[in-house]
């Protein structure tokens, strides 16, 4: 026999912030009448040190095994209360947080009765869920200390060195016969007015790598097979005619980039006088003095800044560097640089000034009129429309240099499949988040850096190599990755092996066996619930947000006067952030909604929406992060599509699909949420005045 459920409810006054609007003693009395509730406490400030100590004492004295806190907002205060109940010896997953300040007293300041009733109902919903809560625990997956670095360019070498300098093992795999990547093909690197031979930098890094006892290097290597996940990657690599199998805990992808195939542009490939920047670099690096070349024309943006491809990001600085070199080497050359926009940032303009001084002529041409190649009597020339003079010029060209676009390495297509990550049309890997996850893939333990992500300069590649090393070192230093207890659970009894869950999981946490049987790596699961909501056989549940718990909240919300109510599902991140912002801003809106928190809007299954309508709800709101933000990559997009399907299903069942609303709201957008509430109430034709003190049926007077 397990312990009988003993729920304690702690209602906070927040000084007058809650108690000034909500009749807190009435909420306390109401809560005391709810089933399984054995103790209710009113606190002036539940988060104060003395109140927390009191809560812990009560938990022990009353032998509580569930705690409901009705106070401000879980977004700021849940960690505090979780830590408190944990110290009192209770599993922190047995805590449920009810928001009666941001969702009640601050937004219904002039409707005391309705506010009190809403607070009571929110507590009822919280208790209904709390009764069904189960213990949870953080889940750990052990992680070893070997990192596989794919790509031996400067980013990869830097990453390997920084991994190995911590005492971890690094395995560096490079497909070319020598380390160095792109940098080993170019002549010099500039920074400010400093110019350094690239060979020096490559040699220095490669020498450190080769001397480092913690780094194994495979050059001329072919990856025969690769797979796995953090803590458990397996690689088969073939180098020097020998195959070897290697286990690694983490992976850094630094496969670099290459120039696009310039064939077809300005007769590149047919005429040796037409070269790309990289080909020019290689000639300069070999010490080619370009004898006989008197007229040089450099054309920018070849294959870039068009419908299919963006700015190459580095071409302007490269072109200015090389133009200066060709103009200033004493050979008396005429150098023309034809451009659309000069993308020179920070100190790069210093080189521009030097190039102008050295006689390089810069001509701007229009976005829609590219220069043309002419050939008369065996001599090459370029016809360009000079924007400033507004006329066409013909420029002789003994050497025509094309500043081309770049694309990811040819290995990307295969690697992205093996590593279960994505890349864009140009073969550049896609990072987890453009701003805040620039070195990460969605799954933990695998990072990226350097030109494999997008074209960049040397110092940026070095920084990314170091940063990527840090990202994979965190789990290696700890020895594990850990998931919060809010994770999926699979019950495969009814599973039909459709594979949808594995296909949809943004974190690669669900793997399919050869028989297409799914299995879950809980430590990789982030608990978004996308799989659970879409599983056609309902085989997946989410700890702390199970179907039963969410259904209990829906039922509790609609137990009384359902036709006046809106059931809202809000994601923990932005949607609840918007709700809280409306609260902080004291935006007043009608009190008809009963909000249920989910981690991601993708958790909300159609069946739960239907349940709300079956129980008589006037309307249902599903709210998630504003596009394109989602804290689980693309959960809101999945939810949006699913709710479209839900509308069709509802219509078939005879419910007006217009009663299901979706809202995509940023955490800063209080006005948007408050506005949506007003609009919904109006559109659903709900009575303006909603609520009275709770009816006596639910409460058992005590």
């Amino acid at each position: 026999m397990s312990d009988p459920t003993r729920v304690g409810v702690f209602v906070c006054d927040c000084g007058s912030n809650i108690a000034g609007v909500v009749d807190v003693p009435a909420v306390v009395r109401y809560a005391a009448g709810l089933e399984h509730v054995v103790f209710v406490d009113e606190g002036r400030w539940s988060c104060s040190v003395d109140a927390l100590a009191r809560m812990q004492r009560i938990i022990r004295e009353q032998a509580l095994n569930r705690v409901v806190v009705a106070a401000c907002t879980p977004r700021t205060h849940e960690p505090l209360f979780k830590a408190t109940v944990k110290e009192a010896g209770l599993n922190p997953y047995l805590l449920e947080f009810v928001s009666i300040r941001e969702q009640v007293s601050w937004v219904h300041m002039h409707e005391r009765d309705a506010a009190t009733w809403k607070a009571q109902e929110l507590v009822r919903m919280g208790v209904a869920k709390a009764v069904l809560l189960e213990e949870g625990a953080e889940i750990r997956l052990p992680v070893g200390t070997t990192c596989l670095v794919i790509g031996g360019g400067m980013a990869g070498m830097t990453a390997a060195l920084h991994v190995a300098d911590q005492g971890f093992g690094a395995v560096l795999v490079e497909k070319a016969p020598a380390l160095g990547g792109l940098l080993s093909r170019i002549s010099t690197v500039i920074h400010g007015r400093r110019e350094v031979p690239a060979t020096e930098l490559v040699r220095a890094a490669a020498a450190r790598i080769e001397a480092h006892p913690g780094i194994r290097v495979f050059t001329g290597a072919e990856i025969e097979s690769l797979g796995g996940y953090v803590g458990n990657y397996q690689l088969a690599v073939r180098a020097g005619g020998v195959s070897e199998r290697i286990d690694a805990a983490t992976v850094i992808v630094a496969t670099g980039m290459r120039e696009i195939d310039a064939a077809g542009h300005f007769r590149h490939g047919e005429d040796p006088r037409v070269v790309t920047q990289l080909e020019l670099e290689e000639r300069l690096r070999r010490g080619d003095r370009l004898d006989g070349v008197e007229d040089v024309v450099i054309v920018q943006c070849v294959g870039s800044r068009n419908e299919t491809r963006g700015c190459c990001a580095i071409g302007c600085a490269v072109a200015v560097k090389n133009a200066l070199r060709l103009a200033a080497d004493g050979a008396g050359r005429r150098v023309h640089l034809l451009y659309r926009d000069l993308s020179l940032v920070k100190d790069e303009h210093l080189h521009l000034e030097d190039a102008r001084q050295a006689g390089v002529r810069f001509l701007r041409f229009p976005d829609d009129r590219y220069p043309e190649l002419l050939e008369t009597e065996g001599k090459l020339a370029v016809r360009v429309h000079d924007l400033l003079l507004d006329r066409d010029l013909e420029l002789a060209a003994d050497l025509l240099v094309l500043t081309t676009a770049y694309r990811g390495d040819d290995s990307v297509d295969r690697l992205k499949g093996l590593l279960k990550v994505s890349a864009n049309a140009d073969g550049f890997f896609q990072e987890a988040h453009v701003k805040l996850g620039p070195l990460d893939f969605p799954a933990e333990g695998i990072a990226l850096g350097g030109c494999a992500k997008s074209p960049k300069f040397l110092r940026d590649s070095l920084e990314e190599g170091m940063g990527a090393a840090m990202r994979v070192s965190i789990p290696m230093k700890r020895g594990y990755v850990e998931a919060a207890g809010i994770v999926a659970e699979l019950d495969l009894e009814d599973c039909e092996n459709c594979g949808l869950c594995a296909k949809q999981c943004p974190y690669g946490a669900i793997q399919l066996s050869d028989q297409r049987e799914p299995s879950l790596l809980q430590a990789l699961c982030k608990g978004c619930g996308l799989c659970a909501a879409d599983c056609p056989m309902e085989c997946i549940s989410i700890v702390h947000y199970s179907d039963a718990q969410l259904a209990a909240q829906v039922d509790a919300a609609l137990a009384e006067r359902p036709a006046e109510k809106i059931v809202g599902f809000v994601c923990h991140w932005c949607a609840l952030g918007g709700v809280d912002m409306a609260g902080v801003s004291r935006l007043q809106y009608p009190p008809h909604a009963r909000l249920i928190r989910v981690m991601c809007s993708a958790r909300v299954p159609i069946r739960l929406v239907e349940r709300a309508f079956e129980r008589g709800a006037a309307g249902v709101l599903v709210a998630g992060c504003e596009f394109p933000t989602c804290h689980y990559i693309t959960g809101n997009y999945a939810c949006d599509k699913r709710m479209e399907r839900a509308r069709k299903k509802l219509a078939k069942k005879g419910y007006d699909p217009a009663r299901l609303w979706t809202l995509w709201c940023s955490a800063a957008d209080g006005p948007k949420f408050a506005g949506a509430m007003r609009e919904m109430v109006r559109a659903l034709g709900l009575p303006a005045h909603n609520g009275s003190a709770a009816s006596s049926t639910a409460g058992r007077a005590s």
């Binding site: 927040c14 000084g15 007058s16 912030n17 400030w45 104060s48 977004r75 700021t76 960690p79 920084h162 300098d165 690197v189 920074h191 890094a205 800044r305 491809r309 963006g310 700015c311 990001a313 926009d341 000069l342 993308s343 940032v345 920070k346 303009h349 924007l387 400033l388 507004d390 988040h433 453009v434 701003k435 805040l436 996850g437 620039p438 997008s454 040397l458 110092r459 940026d460 070095l462 920084e463 990314e464 170091m466 940063g467 990527a468 840090m470 230093k477 700890r478 850990e482 991140w573 932005c574 801003s585 504003e626 933000t629 804290h631 940023s666 955490a667 800063a668 957008d669 209080g670 006005p671």
Partner: protein, 466 residues
């Protein structure tokens, strides 16, 4: 998420913008103890004040606030807001630092951020960042709603009596606030006590703390350049504002709740002009390209069009900098939305006194001709400059600044983010103008440098590879 706290001396991260936050979280997740100091009352930095981020238009605070809460709750991180570094002496391979925390005049242990005191305060003053566009705050205030720590603070001018004329309730006593342990007159004190709290401490003084740290990461960030008076009519005409002020104007959490209105009359602006590279190369301006302004303007025009597609938007620019992943497509999206781009060199801006509209005269760089354009609101993209904290901090830490006031790296091509002092590293805007993603990369990289340094037993930090 707990990792065993490192028994070694903590790492000091100076500056808690997104670079410093990222650095602190990486180092703390790694297991190191971190002291994160910022000389403003909240962590978050410039990013916390932005509306959206390019090139995806993600809401800035939506993605940053969870990181801020994570910092606030991390067992390995201690936040010291309102704090400056006064001394840092090398000692046995470590740094003995002195940290001075300015008073908030509020006990952070007792304040719950409820805001009752703010309601009670009788004086409203222009907000530091938003004043120009009508943003105000009280003399006791929360820096912004998502502030970490979520604790109010009192404007020191209030206590000193400087705000008496504006109606401040304190500051006119015979003895000054530092002498009293009780205040019978301050309305904020009464409001706080009425809430059952007694968090306000008008007599609070600065506190200092001496501590040994194993490594230091400088993350002082960038600042937007304030135009000099008269630049394109700035400070002469109310409807000429900066790009950071415009950012606040379009922010749902800003002073106008996201309504893009003119400061002169509060009416929606129907035609808005952006002047890129404003003040660049002029006295008071910066000589270099800040790299982000083109995309900031692209973002701002797009959001303006999203608010109201009928608003006319025109960007006067020199060279378009779209050098980043997805930036060009972002620019094309703006063009498709009807944003006009004119390659131009602006001459002057004159106000029409009747309408308070602004007439811009410029040289069209594609035709070479002089032209004019009228707009209802003019936005100056003035760029990013080095933090004004850098000079003092460089002296304290024994570091050098470059000619623009950013921290100098002796060998950026072989050892980026390192300084001339072993054990002191850089990240984010301390190194130069930078966007958020690059600041995050550098934050992770500098964290690794710092933990590697902190773990050396021989008390010698590695500098450049030999």
């Amino acid at each position: 998420m707990e990792a065993p706290p490192d028994s070694r001396a903590p790492i000091l991260v100076i500056g808690a913008g997104i670079a410093g936050i990222t650095c602190a979280l990486n180092a703390a997740d790694y297991g190191a103890a971190v002291l994160l100091v910022d000389d403003t009352p909240s962590i978050g930095g410039l990013m916390a004040r932005l509306d959206k981020t390019f090139p995806t238009n993600d809401c800035s605070i939506c993605i940053e606030a969870p990181r801020m809460y994570e910092v606030g709750n991390h067992p390995n991180i201690e936040i010291l807001a309102n704090t400056t570094v006064k001394k840092a002496n090398r000692k046995n391979g470590r740094f003995a630092v002195r940290l001075v925390t300015r008073p908030r005049y509020v006990d952070p242990e007792k304040c719950t951020g409820c805001g009752a005191c703010i309601d009670a305060c009788p004086v409203r003053v222009p907000d530091e960042l938003d004043g120009k566009i009508g943003g105000t705050r009280k003399l006791i205030y929360m820096p912004f709603p998502q502030a970490v720590p979520n604790v109010v603070l009192i404007d020191p001018r209030c206590r000193s009596g400087a705000m008496r004329a504006q109606g401040a309730c304190v500051g006119g006593c015979v003895v000054d606030c530092s002498q009293c342990r009780e205040c019978p007159i301050a309305l904020c004190v009464k409001a706080c006590q009425k809430e059952g709290k007694d968090a306000i401490r008008l007599w609070q003084a600065a506190t200092s703390r001496n501590i040994e740290v194993s490594a230091i990461v400088v993350a002082t960030g960038v600042m937007d350049v304030r135009p000099s008076r008269g630049l394109h009519g700035y400070d002469l005409y109310p409807n000429v504002i900066t790009y950071t002020q415009f950012e606040r104007l379009m922010n749902a959490g800003g002073p106008t709740a996201g309504r893009i209105v003119r400061p002169s009359d509060g009416r929606p602006a129907h035609k808005i002009a952006w002047l890129q590279c404003a003040g660049r190369g002029l006295a008071g301006g910066i000589p270099y390209c800040s790299k982000v302004c083109c995309m900031v303007a692209t973002k701002q025009t797009l959001i303006t069009k999203e608010h109201d597609a009928a608003v006319e938007t025109v960007v006067f620019l020199n060279d378009l900098k779209a050098c980043g992943k997805g930036f060009w497509a972002f620019h094309e999206k703006a063009r498709a939305a009807g944003v006009r781009h004119v390659k131009a060199r602006p001459y002057d801006v004159v106000e029409d006194p009747a309408t308070r509209n602004l007439v811009l005269r410029y040289e069209d760089l594609e035709t070479g001709e002089l032209a004019t354009e009228e707009a209802e609101l003019v936005v100056l993209s003035t760029g990013l400059k080095a933090s004004d904290r850098n000079e003092g901090l460089a002296r304290t830490l024994g570091l050098e600044l470059d000619e623009h006031g950013f921290f100098r790296e002796p060998d950026p091509l072989a050892a980026p983010l390192e300084t001339a002092v072993a054990g002191i590293y850089l990240c984010g805007g301390a190194t130069g103008p930078i966007d958020i993603a690059e600041a995050v990369v550098q934050g992770s990289a500098a964290a690794l440098k710092a933990v590697l340094c902190g773990s050396r037993k021989e008390h010698a930090c590695p500098t450049r590879p030999a």
